[in-house]
Symmetry: C2
Subunit: 218 residues, 2 copies
């Protein structure tokens, strides 16, 4: 049963991916613990990327709190409520895509359910996995939640302003991450220093150019 | 299939509970997001409760980092690694009980996998559900993760020393919690003020006396 469910999911995910590729929309699957800073990341990227260039899909068990935060910034957003569901799946994304107008958008951020385990296993059709891990969670997270970090393209160490208050050791975090992934990049951010999000914007621009190879496709 | 799995789990959980009841061991299922402060809670309770009065079962996908923290304090501890599993189940606990010597212990703390969704649904045989939610995670968590908070007996708002740095609003948290649970108690803690754990100790002593009604049973 599990395998056929997984195959059905991946077929829908491939169709989602086709939509993103045809429209040159970079799709990011944003994952992390509850309260790690996923929504704040999108809020802080918005002025750097331009609200008109982006769209957001918010995944949460309950509530439209995060969608309201997006709407306050005039970012196009669609809320998915999973109720007891611990992750989004490709069908939920597909349904959201059928009602979300993505014309002219360059970036789609899918904020997955706050969970450092379950979303890792489910392919939605995204180009990139970005994991947000706050300094307050501690530097041992990559070792404990290897399944999440091993498939990440980028890990964002969020709330760097709390680093000293919580005795977060960046070197230990990077060592732990290196033990589970050889390829995952890392960037540190804090909403108290908005310029700390500029390298994230640069990363996304670079990845989008690389993936769609825009210099040749136009 | 789901229902028979659930029934099988609950039968084993009932057997676990019988062991706790016969031996007057208060069993606490400790749940919360990754890095919320579950292990720190146990560390800070240890000197207040007495290491000889307690035992710990550590649940993590990978690593024995938390077991080592327990051993450093001479607390009896057994590690369960779930690998990709997003929660403990009654069978894992039963297997752990077969190797962990609980004689003379008054309290068993089960630190579940860091996850604010999945552990909520699985009964292990515990007397109490304690949810640890750090101020760094934000005050909206009870609304977003209602499934976890609605069955909690006690919510611990951890890392209260970060309250101002992260703009945590206690009133908003309590309002959100009240919307999903009428009975859940709350206590605030910070490892920077060890006396903040004394009310947690008092709560546990009171619950243990209440549950085993010790004044009559001896």
């Amino acid at each position: 049963v599990d395998e056929s469910v997984s195959n059905a999911n991946d077929e829908i995910a491939a169709e989602n991916r086709r939509v993103f590729d045809e429209n040159h929309i970079l799709c990011v699957n944003l994952m992390g613990s509850p309260g790690s800073g996923k929504t704040t990341l999108i809020e802080c990227l918005a002025p750097l990327i331009g609200c008109g260039n982006m769209a957001v899909i918010q995944g949460d068990l309950e509530s439209d709190i995060d969608t309201k935060r997006m709407q306050a910034l005039k970012i196009i957003c669609h809320q998915i409520n999973t109720h007891s569901g611990c992750h989004l799946n490709a069908k939920m994304l597909s349904d959201a895509l059928s009602v979300l107008d993505l014309s002219g958008r360059k970036y789609l951020f899918i904020e997955n359910v706050g969970n450092l385990v379950c979303p890792a296993k489910i392919y939605l059709g995204q180009h990139l996995n970005i994991v947000v891990s706050s300094t307050a969670e501690g530097h041992d997270k990559p070792l404990k939640y290897a399944i999440m970090f091993m498939d990440a393209d980028l890990t964002i160490i969020a709330k760097s302003d709390l680093k000293d208050a919580v005795n977060f050791d960046s070197i230990e975090f990077l060592k732990a991450l290196a033990r589970v992934s050889r390829r995952c990049k890392t960037l540190m951010t804090s909403k108290k220093t908005p310029e700390s999000f500029e390298p994230v914007r640069d990363y996304l621009i670079h990845e989008r150019q690389h993936i769609f190879n825009e210099q040749h496709s136009h």
